[in-house]
Symmetry: C2
């Protein structure tokens, strides 16, 4: 995690000085593996995704990859969580859009890229694979809570107003459904019309 | 298909009389295979679903199964289409519910059972498998159009009113997203709250 070791930098001892670049390299390797894992999962699905393939794609030895992620389940769940966190960090720093429609567009866009495709493959595989099920369910709950907070901020919505919580939840469900509809073909023109209509339907409830 | 041969029954010739029971048996075998295929796909996903497994489950020889469905792709795409058609036929005969909320509940229920799970596994597999992609995309389009017609009828909605088409499309996207959220855990309490809120949001636009 960036920033994790930063507070210690100022008081590095002599023995630590030698290990710091090694830790940086290890962190960079880990990040490359996680990013490659999301790409691989999005493009090839769960059945086509292995640690060996991701290591090759990331230019890392299989042994190094397994040092970081002992199992296939470790690698791919960590990858979806890492990329989701990176994205939240970027979105948290943006100002809230001026209109409900612009905010709805940004929220819906979260479900049309490689991260959603990767997560979808993982969720669907988890529904049939006992070794994946409980950890993916927990991961989905964490990402879901974070996405809900992010959506409230983008919409400038206050959950204490009755109906707002369920309106935003339904909007996120709709965004997920729009992501699914975009899986086999480019669904952009239809999606834009749905977004415009629903933004106008929810604007009154939210502001 | 039931009813397909019914109009000919009254004028069966002597030579046809011997083959009719054989055709009935063949049709019954086909239906058992299709229903078993949807169950198998819903429970085991695409990677766990084979013609052999479905034949065993349906109590049909592997040879007979392959006579009806030469490839795995043939069997599972036909199965999702058949079960979707059976369901549409049932729903077409029901009267429109008295309230928008009851109609929204019925629409959302379409996405929480085995048919949705089976279809989801097929859609997601099709996004990575070239031999499955184009036929599943065409199948999804056909089922999507039929579901849209069904939703309009259940809601008593008229598409000529501006905004109605996109409102109903967004509702179906939300229903799909709610189905996805129900994949790894029972999401019923949250889903009921979202349905109540969204039904009230769309009632004015639709009626």
């Amino acid at each position: 995690m960036p920033g994790h070791s930063a507070p210690d930098r100022g008081r590095t001892t002599a023995s630590e000085r030698g290990t710091a670049p090694k830790q940086d390299r290890s962190r960079a390797t880990r990040q490359r593996l996680l990013e490659s894992a999301v790409t691989c999962l999005a493009e090839r699905g769960w059945s086509g995704s292995t640690v060996t393939l991701v290591a090759e794609h990331a230019g890392v030895s299989r042994g190094a990859a397994q040092h970081h992620f002992p199992t296939r389940e470790d690698l791919f769940t960590a990858a979806v969580e890492y990329v989701a966190e990176q994205r939240s960090a970027v979105l948290r720093d943006l100002p809230a859009p001026a209109t409900t429609e612009a905010a709805v567009e940004m929220i819906v866009d979260l479900y049309t890229g490689p991260l959603f495709r990767a997560a979808l493959h993982l969720w669907v595989a988890a529904s049939n694979e006992p070794q994946l099920g409980p950890r993916v369910a927990a991961l989905e709950a964490r990402i879901g809570r974070e996405t809900h907070r992010m959506a409230l901020a983008l919409l400038g919505a206050d959950e204490r107003t009755p109906g707002v919580r369920e309106t935003v939840q339904g909007l996120l469900d709709m965004a997920r459904g729009l992501g699914l509809a975009n899986l086999l073909r480019d669904d952009t023109p239809r999606r834009n019309r749905v977004v415009a209509q629903w933004a106008s339907l929810i604007a009154d409830t939210l502001r």
